[in-house]
Amino acid sequence: MKRYVIDMEEIETGCLELIGSKALSLHKVMNEDLQVPPFTCISTAAYERYLDSTHIRDSIIMELSRKDMADMRWEEMWDTSLRIRNMFLNTAIPGELEKELLSGIRELFCEKPVVVRSSAPGEDSGNTSFAGLHESYVNVRGAGPIIEHVRLVWASLWSDAALLYREELGLDVGKSGMAVIIQELMEGQASGIIFSRSPNDNEQMIIEAVHGLNKGLVDGDLEPDRWTIDRKDGAIIDYQEPSGREKIVHLVEKGTVLESMPDELAQMVPLDEREVHRLYQIAMILERCFEGPQDIEWTIKDGNIYVLQSRPITTGKDEEKVWYLSLRRTVDDLQKLRRRVEHELIPEMISDYLALQTVDLQGMDDSELGREILRRKELYESWKQRYTDEFIPFAHGMRLFAQVYNDVIRPSDPYEFMELLSGSGLLSMKRNEELKRLADMLRQDTALMDRVKNDKAEGAFLERIEDFAQNYMHAGIFKSREELVGHIVELASGPDRKEAVKRGREEKYEERDKEGDKGEMENRFISAFSDSEQAFARELLDMGRTSYRLRDDDNIHLGRIEHQYIVSLNEARDRIAIRVQGFDTNINANTNDYSENEILKALNDDEYLPVKGSLKREEDKALDIKEHVRQIQGQPAGRGLVTGIARVIVDKQDLFKVRSGEILVCDAIDPNMTFVVPLVSGIVERRGGMLIHGAIIAREYGIPCVTGIPDATGIIRNGDELTVDGYLGIVTIRRK
C-alpha cells in the first residue's frame, strides 16, 4: 500500500511521483549537507484517495467537459478554477484518511507554525518550472488547520494559472497528482532569493534580501537589497540599496502581515559580506547538484542559512500567459492600483473627453481636421493601452475578494459573493435608470407618447432628453436624438421591468435571497474574521465593490473618448459627402464606407475622391443549411429560464433593432451597449466568464444569461426561438 505521509528522513530518490518535485529537491538539498527546515510530505496517494472516495474526480471531469479548454479565455479558466476550488473547500477529507494524515502530522509539528507548500510531480522539472502556479500557505498552526490547508493546496493543482499552463504541465484528471510539503516555518532574521544565473547576464548571480520573512519579497510587496555577484569568484560586482526599507513581514495569529519596519532595523543592510559569500557558495552547490541555474529561496535564523526551496529558473516565453499571471496582485498592490485608477486615471480620462468636447471641429479647415482626427485616435489608442495595463489588473480586486469570501464562507454557490458586489451604482445602470424614467413618462401619458412618436416631443420630456444627451450620449452608441427617442419609445412599449422576469420554476429552487438580505450577508462575511482582522475584511469588500464598479465604469469613460474620435471622423465624412456629391450628384455618398485612411487622404488633398472599402458583415457568411446546432453548453452566468426570439447583434446598429422580450445574442457586450438590456429577456454571449460585462448586467437585472457559447452570432440566426437556461448554462435553438 502506498504511504500517505512520508517524513523527510524516509524520502528516496525514486519516489518522485509520490512526493512531487519540491519535496524531492529538498531531499537533494539535504544530501548536499545544506540545512533545510524540518518537513514532512503528504503524498500524491492521499490526494488520489481523497479524489476517488469523495467523487471529486468525477466532478472535475464534468467541469472540464463543459467546454474545450483550447476555446477558453483566461476569464473562463478563472471561473473553472473557482468552481473546482469550491468543490475542494466544501468536501471534507473522509474520516479514516484524515485520521491517518493527522497522526502523521500531529507528532511532528504540534502547534509549531508551518508552511504548507505544493509539491506536484513535474511542477519544477527543468522543462516545466513556472513560479506561482500552485498555492503555498505561510504560518499555519495545529493539525486541524494544516489539514484544511492541504485541501487548498490540492485544489491549486487546478488553479487558473495551472489551467493556463495545462499543456506544459500535462495536466490530466486521470494522471496528475499533488503532494504537499508541511515544513516548519523558520522565522528568520533575514530572508531572500537567489538567481544563481542572472536573467540579464550569464556571468552574474543575483542575491536579494529583506529583513524578516521573504513572503513580501516573493509577492512583490517589498523592495529588497540586491547584490550582483561575479559567478567565477563570488566577488560583489554591484550592490543596490532599496529606495527604503519601510515594511517587514511578521507572523500573526494566522498567516502574515506587512508592517512598518522599526527605524533601527530600516537603517541596517540585511546581510553582511560574509553571508552574501556563503549564499553564493550555496547557490553554486545547488546549481551543480541540480545541473542548471536555480531560483533559490532561503532564510537566516540564528546565524544558520536554511534553504527553503530550490527550483530551475522560470523562463516565461508566452507573453500572453505571462501577462495573465501578472494580473494576480496582492491586496497592497491592488490598493495602490485602486488609488491610481480612481483618483488619477479616471479623472484624467474625464478631463480629456471634456476638453475634446469643447473643440470646435466645424471651425477647422480640412488639414486641421485631419490632424485632429489623428490626435484623437492617438489619445483613444493610448487610453486603450492604459485600460489593458492598469484597469484590467484592478479588476482582479473582485477576484481576490471572491477567493477570500469563498474561503471563509464556503458557500455552495461559488458566485454567491456577487450578491455583495452588485448594486454598487454602475454608471451604465444609472444611465439605464434614467432611460427607464423617460420610458415611464411615455408609458404613463399616452398623449405624450403619440406626440413623441410624431416627432413633436416638448416640455419636461424634451428637457430630460437634453439632460440625458449631455450626460450619456457620449458613449458612441446613440448617434442622434432620433435614435435615442426611438429606443425610449421601444422601452415604453414593452413590459415594465419592475415586474419580475419569468424565472422558470423558481419556486422550487432554494433562492439565495432566502439566506438573508445583503446586509445579513455582509455581516456574516465580516464576522467570519477575528476582531483584529475585521478592518481588513471591510477593506477587501470595499475594494471588491470598487473593482466591480470601475470595471464597468471605465468602459463608459473609454467609450466617451472613442465617441469623440468618431465625432471627428463623422465631421470629415460629412465634408467628403458634399465633395463626392458635388462631383457627381447621382452618387449616393454613404460615407460610412470610407476608411480612416481614405478620409485623411481626402482631407489633405482637395482634389482627391476617396475610394469605398468593402465592409463584410458577419451575416454575409454562407450558412450550411444541412447542419444546425440545436443545443449548446456554455457557462450559466445569470440565473433563470426563458424562451424568446433571437436578436443577433453583428453591428452596433443592430442594437436599435432589438424589440422588447427578444433574446440578445452577441459576440461580446460592453457597458456602452448595455442600454439595450432592459428590453431583452435573456442574453447569450460568445465571450465567456461570470464576471464579464454581459454577466454582470444580466445579474443586475435578474435576466437569464449564458456566456461562452462559441461562435454564438454565427450559429444563431435572427428569428430563431431560443431557450436560455441560465441555471445550467444551456442554450436550445429551434429554427423555424
Binding site: S59, M62, Y509, L641, D725, Y727, I730
Partner: protein
C-alpha cells in the same frame, strides 16, 4: 424463491453498476433516443433520470407519457455476443417531485450530477416499469412482468 424473483435479483448488479442507459421516446410517428444517467429504485419498480426541461426529450416524455430504456454491459468486443446482457425496461413516465429521498437515491449514484438534478430548469423523471425484457447469450430473451 420464485423464478421471477431470482430473475429480478439477477438484474440488480447490472442496474447498480451501469451509469448510463439509452432512453427511447416517441412523438407522433417519430422516435428519438438519448443517453441518460439513471438510478433504479431498490425494488426495480422505478427508474429515475434527469433532463433539462427545455429539451425535445422532455417534451416527448411529457407529451406521450411513455418511454423505454435499455441498460446493457457490452464492452464493444465479439465476446459481447456471448457475455453481454441487455435489459429493456418499458413503462410509463411522470415528472417526479425532487424529494430528499429521491435526490439521495440519484446523487448517491451520480454525485457529480448534483447541480444538474437540483437546477430548477431540470426535471426528475420516473419511469414506472411495466415490464423488463432481458436479452442474453445472443438470442435468449426473457420477460419479467412488474405490474
Amino acid at each position: 424463491m420464485l423464478k421471477s424473483q431470482r430473475l429480478k435479483e439477477s438484474l440488480i448488479p447490472l442496474m447498480k453498476k451501469q451509469k448510463l442507459a439509452v432512453l427511447a421516446t416517441c412523438h407522433g410517428d417519430g422516435t428519438y433516443t438519448n443517453l441518460v444517467g439513471f438510478a433504479a429504485s431498490e425494488d426495480l419498480a422505478s427508474i429515475y433520470f434527469v433532463t433539462p426541461v427545455a429539451t425535445r426529450k422532455y417534451s416527448y416524455l411529457t407529451g406521450s407519457g411513455k418511454a423505454s430504456m435499455m441498460i446493457d454491459n457490452r464492452t464493444n468486443t465479439s465476446n459481447d455476443f456471448k457475455d453481454a446482457m441487455a435489459v429493456n425496461a418499458n413503462g410509463r413516465v411522470v415528472v417526479a417531485e425532487k424529494t430528499a429521498e429521491l435526490k439521495k437515491l440519484y446523487i448517491e449514484k451520480h454525485p457529480y450530477l448534483k447541480d444538474f438534478l437540483e437546477s430548477p430548469s431540470s426535471a426528475l423523471i420516473r419511469l414506472d416499469v411495466d415490464r423488463y425484457i432481458i436479452a442474453s447469450s445472443f438470442q435468449n430473451v426473457v420477460e419479467l412482468d412488474m405490474t
